[in-house]
C-alpha cells in the first residue's frame, strides 16, 4: 500500500519536502514505515535516533499496524513554549 507521510521541522528540512508517498507491504507497522522512509531519505536521522511517528494525531509505537488512509507524521524532538 502507498502511505502519505508528513515531515515536520528538522525532518521536513532534511527530507527537502513536507510530504512523501511511501510504499510498504500491507500489514506494515510503524517500524516498517520508518525503515522505508530512512531508505528513501538517508539523511533524515542517524541510525541510533529513534524516529517518533504519530498516526492519526496520536503518538504510535513501533508495533502499530498501519492502514491505508492513516494520517502519518514524523515527529522530531519537540521544543514548543
Amino acid at each position: 500500500m502507498q502511505l502519505e507521510v508528513r515531515f515536520f521541522a528538522l525532518y521536513r528540512e532534511r527530507a527537502g519536502r513536507s510530504t512523501a508517498t511511501v510504499g510498504v507491504p500491507d500489514g506494515a507497522t510503524v517500524a516498517d514505515l520508518t525503515s522505508a522512509v530512512r531508505r528513501l531519505y538517508p539523511r533524515l536521522a542517524p541510525p541510533e535516533v529513534n524516529i517518533v511517528v504519530a498516526v492519526n494525531a496520536e503518538y504510535a509505537d513501533a508495533g502499530t499496524v498501519l492502514r491505508p488512509g492513516d494520517e502519518i507524521c514524523l515527529i522530531p524532538p519537540v521544543s514548543g513554549g
Binding site: 528540512e13 521544543s79 514548543g80
Partner: protein, 156 residues
C-alpha cells in the same frame, strides 16, 4: 462549567485577553505564564525564532494536558495560546493562564502545563543566529545526519 481555551495562531498574542478568559468571580487566584523570545540562547545572540506546529495534534495534546491537570489539581479554568511562525526577540510565543479559587493549585497547575507542553506537544522552535540556525532540542551531535555522525565518531 470548566472553561478551556486552546489557541494556536500566527497572530501576536495578547496576554491580557488570554488571562481575561479565566477570570471569574469564584477564582481568587490567576497565574499567567508568558514565554518570550530571549536575546541569548546558550551564549549565542538570537535574531529571531520560527515556530512550526502539527496543529491538529498539538491542539489534541494540549486538550489532554488540560484534562490531566484538571483531574490532578482540581482546577477548572485554563487558557493556552501558542504563537507559531516568525517571532521576534522579546515577543511572546506562549501564554498559559490558570485560575483557581486558591493560589497554590493555580501556581502548580500552570507550571505543570508549561512543563508538559514542552515535553509532548508537537511544536518546534528554530533559532536564527547571525551566522546560522538550529532546531531546538535536536541536539547537533545526536541528530547530525549519518555522514556528519560518522565524521564525528571518527575523531580521536
Amino acid at each position: 462549567m470548566p472553561y478551556e481555551m486552546i489557541e494556536i495562531t500566527h497572530q501576536p498574542l495578547d496576554p491580557e485577553q488570554v488571562t481575561a478568559q479565566v477570570r471569574r468571580d469564584a477564582n481568587g487566584a490567576v497565574v499567567t505564564f508568558l514565554g518570550a523570545t530571549r536575546l541569548y540562547s546558550e551564549g549565542k545572540k538570537v535574531v529571531r525564532l520560527e515556530y512550526e506546529a502539527y496543529e491538529d495534534m498539538a491542539r489534541r495534546k494540549l486538550a489532554e494536558i488540560c484534562q490531566e491537570i484538571r483531574a490532578e489539581f482540581g482546577i477548572e479554568d485554563i487558557a493556552i495560546a501558542h504563537r507559531i511562525g516568525r517571532v521576534d526577540i522579546g515577543q511572546i510565543s506562549l501564554v498559559v493562564a490558570v485560575a483557581s479559587p486558591h493560589r497554590k493549585e493555580a501556581f502548580l497547575a500552570c507550571h505543570q502545563i508549561v512543563d508538559r507542553l514542552k515535553e509532548t506537544v508537537p511544536i518546534w522552535k528554530k533559532e536564527f543566529f547571525e551566522d546560522g540556525s538550529r532546531w531546538v532540542a535536536c541536539d547537533d551531535h545526536y541528530f547530525a545526519p549519518p555522514g556528519a555522525a560518522a565524521r564525528q565518531q571518527a575523531r580521536p
